[in-house]
Symmetry: C2
Subunit: 263 residues, 2 copies
C-alpha cells in the first residue's frame, strides 16, 4: 500500500489551517497552499513553510493527496478548474456527499474533522474524531493510515452518516453555543457574570456522558410548570427572538416527553 | 451572631434530598422532613435519620431554620398553614421573589442552589454555587455561614438577579440538554453513537469558559451558509418541531451577529 507522504491544501480557512499544522507536526509534508485570497494563502504557507498560489492551474502535480477545504459552494467550481489527472483528492466537508468527485477523473475520499474551529482558539488535533470515507478499500486504507497519524480517533463514516453527524453537531455545538450566548446576555443585564453558570454547564455535560440526554432532561418544560414558563415568557417580552426560541424548545421538550412515554 | 445548627425540610424532592444530605454531611442536624406524600417524607427521613410528617401543623417548632423546597405554586399555600411564629424560613426557588414571605410573621431569606438535580445522578454539593438573600444583614450573615459549610461558592444574589440566573440556567442547561437529545435522536437514525460528539461538546464548553459565547459562535447560521441551512431544513422535513427550532435559532444567531456588529 502506498503511504501518503505529501499533501497540498486547497483552501486556507480555519479547517485547512488546523489540519495543515497537524499534518506538518506529524511528518506529512505540505507542499503548497492554494487560496483565491493571496493574503490567506501566504499566511498559511508561511506557517507551513511551503509554496502558495492563487491560481488553481498552478497547483503542483506531484502531491500524494489534495485536500479541498473550502466552502461547500466553491468545491464544484474549483474541481472544474482542477486538472491534475488521477490525483487523490479529499474534501473536509460535513455535508457534501463523496460522490461530488465522481466524473472528475480523480481518485477520491473524504476527511471530515468533527470539531468546531475558531481562529481565536487553539486546539489539540489528536483528540478530534476524523471521519473518513473513500471510493474503495485501497484508498480508505491509505486515508486511515494518514488520519491515524494526526488523530487518536478515526472512524469510517458513510456520506449519509456524515450528513447526520453534521446536523447533529449544529444542534449540539452551534445551537448550544447560542443558548450560552443568550444566557450570557440575560445575566449581563443584571450585572452577573457568566462564570456563575460553569458548575451547571459542567454538570449538564457530565450527565449526558453517562445517561441518554432525553432521560436526564430537567427544567420547567419537562415538569410542565406553566407558572414559571409564563413568567419567563413575560421576562422575555422585549426580546421576541428569544421568546420564540423559549416557546418552541419548551414545546419540543414537552412533545419529546410524550414520545418517550410511548416508546 | 446565632449559628444555624438545626434545620427542618419542607419538601422531599430532588433539591430537598441533595441539600438535606449535604447539610447532614456538614454537621447541620436535620430534625424533620415534611412532605404531603408520606412515602417521600419517610424515604428522605430515613436517609437523614430524622422524623417525618405529612401534617404541616405537626412541624416541630424549635429548628433554627425551615427550608421550603417545594414547587413554586405550593409555597404560598403551605405558608398559610405554617404557624411557627418568628421562625427563620428560606425557600430554594430560582424564580420566587423573597418578598413572598413578607406579612407571614416569619424572619426570611432565600437559599438557591444553582444546579440541575436528577434523581438518577449523584452530585458533589461543594461545587454548587449557593445564591443567598435575606431580609437583613444579620440573617444574611447567618445564611452565609451556613451556606459556606456546604459549598465553596456562596454568592449574595438579589431577587431580580436570581430571576435572571434562573432563566439563564434554563437556556444554558435545560435547552442545551434538549439540543443534545435532538442530536442523539438524529444520530440514532443513522446508527451512530452520541459519544462521537464528546470531543465537540468538550470543546464547545471549553471555548465559552475562555471567551464570550457570542464571540466564538460557529456554524452555518453565523457564516450565512444558506445552502447548508436549506439542506438541513430539508433533512428535518419529517420532524417539524426540530425544523422550527433550527429555523428560529439560526435566525437568532444571524440577528445577534448584526447586533454585535453595531455594538
Amino acid at each position: 500500500m502506498k503511504s501518503i507522504k505529501t499533501a497540498i491544501l486547497i483552501g486556507a480557512g480555519n479547517v485547512a489551517t488546523h489540519l495543515g499544522m497537524a499534518l506538518k507536526a506529524n511528518g506529512i509534508e505540505v507542499l503548497q497552499v492554494y487560496s483565491r485570497t493571496g493574503k490567506s494563502a501566504a499566511a498559511l504557507a508561511q506557517k507551513l513553510d511551503c509554496y502558495c498560489t492563487t491560481d488553481i492551474k498552478k497547483i503542483l502535480p506531484h502531491a500524494d493527496l489534495y485536500i479541498f477545504s473550502v466552502a461547500d459552494g466553491a468545491l464544484d467550481y474549483l474541481l472544474n478548474s482542477f486538472d491534475i489527472k488521477n490525483a487523490f483528492v479529499v474534501h473536509t466537508s460535513g455535508s457534501l456527499n463523496m460522490n461530488i468527485f465522481a466524473g472528475h477523473n480523480v481518485r477520491y475520499g473524504v476527511l471530515y474533522p468533527l470539531q468546531t474551529f475558531s481562529k481565536k482558539v487553539k486546539i489539540s488535533f489528536s483528540n478530534i474524531p476524523l471521519c473518513i470515507e473513500a471510493q474503495d478499500d485501497e484508498h480508505l486504507k491509505q486515508l486511515m493510515k494518514l488520519a491515524r497519524r494526526v488523530s487518536r480517533k478515526v472512524e469510517h463514516i458513510t456520506s449519509p452518516q456524515r450528513e447526520a453527524l453534521h446536523i447533529a453537531a449544529v444542534f449540539a455545538c452551534n445551537f448550544t453555543n447560542h443558548m450560552f450566548a443568550i444566557a450570557d446576555e440575560l445575566l449581563q443585564k443584571e450585572k452577573l457574570s457568566f462564570d456563575l453558570l460553569y458548575p451547571l454547564l459542567d454538570e449538564t455535560l457530565r450527565k449526558v456522558k453517562t445517561h441518554k440526554p432525553a432521560d436526564v432532561q430537567t427544567g420547567p418544560a419537562i415538569r410542565e410548570d406553566k407558572v414559571i414558563m409564563q413568567k419567563h415568557l413575560d421576562m422575555l417580552s422585549t426580546l421576541p427572538a428569544y421568546q420564540k426560541i423559549y416557546n418552541f424548545i419548551s414545546r419540543s421538550i414537552r412533545e419529546s416527553k410524550d414520545k418517550n412515554k410511548k416508546s
